[in-house]
């Protein structure tokens, strides 16, 4: 995701998703992260269901990892997703916050 044109295309998708409310279908806590994510670990990644529309996979933020459970209601928000390279555009994407933490 280093190319500005990819960021630009991806932003359209972010606009469609941000603010949506859904429920956690399943989740895990990543303790051994891939390259670019080590400063965030451990972090939670969940599959979120919105009922009528497609599901989305994204991180759960702004809560204790031990408080996350299947069925929890979350809302999608915009966050920096990974550590950029020194000359890269900062990559933004979707993450989800539990409703009670809003």
């Amino acid at each position: 995701m280093n190319s500005p044109v990819k960021h630009w295309r991806n932003q359209k998708k972010i606009t469609e998703l941000v603010g949506k409310t859904g429920k956690i279908v399943t989740f895990t806590i990543i303790r051994v992260p891939p390259a670019g994510y080590s400063d965030q670990a451990p972090y939670a990644v969940a599959v979120i269901d919105f009922g009528a529309t497609d599901r989305v996979s994204c991180q759960i933020v702004d809560c204790e990892l031990t408080d996350i459970s299947i069925g929890m209601t979350v809302r999608l928000t915009v966050r920096r997703v990974k550590t950029p390279g020194i000359d890269d555009v900062i990559p933004y994407g979707i993450k989800a916050r539990p409703i009670h933490s809003l």
Binding site: M1, N10, V25, T26, F27, T28, I29, I30, R31, V32, P33, P34, A35, G36, Y37, S38, Q40, A41, Y43, V45, A46, V47, I48, D54, R55, V56, S57, C58, Q59, I70, V81, K82, P91, G93, I94, K95
Partner: protein
């Protein structure tokens, strides 16, 4: 189908820093050609199963690369990629090439070199099998299967100790396999105490990063090649080769307690072979993580949904105590190692040895019908082969 496996060989799987992919391929190919007892100029085409040579090693064009290396220059050759199912997809392509009538003898090479690279590089490269959304979320392969495990636990009461029993069984089988990466038996306690990778999966729930290569020589000609050294009593045929696909990412799935692609591929394969799950004597299934073997043995119809875990704990799929069939006598991906492009080919090499009765200490008695199940990604590709010894 009129297709026989006439030669097969696998290298040792594991950390092989001393050898290059060329050496691994050469060893597996030489072994398979020698097993077949044919001149290698009889091989008309080479199908290479590999996932990561481009992203990790910056080497693509593997058809020509390995045809040159194996002195098959001039023959038809190509690479087939389908993440961790690349090897069995290459077998599927080879089977279809034989069925078309274009060739009568072909070779399939499954190969992967992973341990030359840093673990986080390998983890990121493997996520090439997922979708953009999962990569952006910082998801990993253990994470994807951990998310599936979480749903299975909630739905069927599957426990972490039951998952650990899969690793214990497969390490026991691997201890009997000279080509396996691990030869140490482990206990449920050791699995439970190992470092957590992605909750609820721990280090010993995960298959390792491995190097390895495996080769099959397939032929439409049932006649035994002239001049072979040993007399062969058992002919091993491929009686079904089927593939099915599903959404690339978990968010596109209707159900997270099963892999729909596995069920579809298995259904087609059983129909093609004219057999059912109860006819299978031995199976190599895709246990990239312990939960994956539990789901696979259910999706393939060996156990009802939610019933596999307790059966595995009771030893119903273990060598020596098996009730219906033995699962992963090679040690599976967990115990024998998982060089991703090689795995699908290695599974069939193992079943070929089982059906011929040459599997040594890990021989499944009276094995006649065998099934290989290979998965790409978190279930986006599933490949099922059924073999028969006669």
């Amino acid at each position: 189908m009129n297709i026989s496996i006439i030669g097969a060989h696998t290298t040792k799987f594991g950390e092989q820093w001393g050898v290059s992919p060329r050496t691994l391929a050469g060893e597996a190919f030489t072994g398979a050609v020698s097993d077949a007892g044919i001149q290698k100029n009889r091989i008309e085409a080479l199908f290479v199963g590999n996932m990561l040579s481009g992203i990790l090693g910056r080497q693509e064009h593997l058809g020509a690369f390995f045809s040159e290396e194996l002195s098959l220059t001039g023959k038809a050759a190509c690479k087939i990629e389908g993440a961790c199912a690349s090897g069995s997809l290459a077998v599927h392509a080879a089977v279809n090439a034989l069925l078309s009538g274009e060739y009568s003898t072909v070779a399939v090479l499954g190969i992967e070199k992973m341990t030359d690279y840093k673990p986080e590089e390998v983890a990121a490269a493997l996520m090439g099998a997922g979708n953009d959304e999962e990569r952006m979320a910082g998801m990993t392969f253990p994470g994807l299967y951990a998310a599936l495990a979480h749903v299975h636990m909630k739905e069927y009461g599957t426990t972490q100790e039951q998952m650990a029993a899969v690793a214990v069984k497969n390490h026991f089988h691997a201890s009997l396999n000279p080509n396996a990466q691990f030869h140490s038996k482990i206990t449920v306690e050791q699995v439970m105490k190992s470092t957590c990778i992605a909750d609820p999966l721990k280090l010993l729930d995960c298959s390792p990063i491995s190097d390895g290569a495996a080769v099959l020589i397939l032929s439409t000609n049932h006649a035994m090649p002239a001049g072979r050294q040993e007399s062969r009593t058992t002919n091993v045929s491929i009686v079904a080769s089927q593939v099915a696909t599903d959404s690339l990412g978990l968010s596109g799935r209707k159900s997270l307690t099963e892999l729909a692609a596995t069920k579809k591929a298995a259904e087609k394969a059983y129909r093609q072979a004219g057999v059912g799950p109860a006819d299978i004597d031995v199976a190599e299934v895709h246990d990239c993580f312990t939960i994956a073997e539990i789901m696979a043995t259910e999706d393939l119809g060996f156990f009802d949904k939610g019933k596999a875990a307790s059966a595995i704990v009771q030893g119903h799929t273990t060598l020596g105590t098996a009730k219906k069939l033995v699962v992963n006598p090679s040690g599976g991906l967990k115990g024998a190692g998982h060089p991703v492009g090689a795995t699908g080919v290695k599974q069939i090499v193992e079943l070929y040895e089982q059906l011929r009765g040459t599997a040594g200490k890990r021989q499944v008695e009276k094995a006649r019908v065998a099934l290989a199940h290979n998965v790409g990604g978190s279930g986006a590709t599933a490949v099922v082969h059924i073999l028969r010894g006669s």
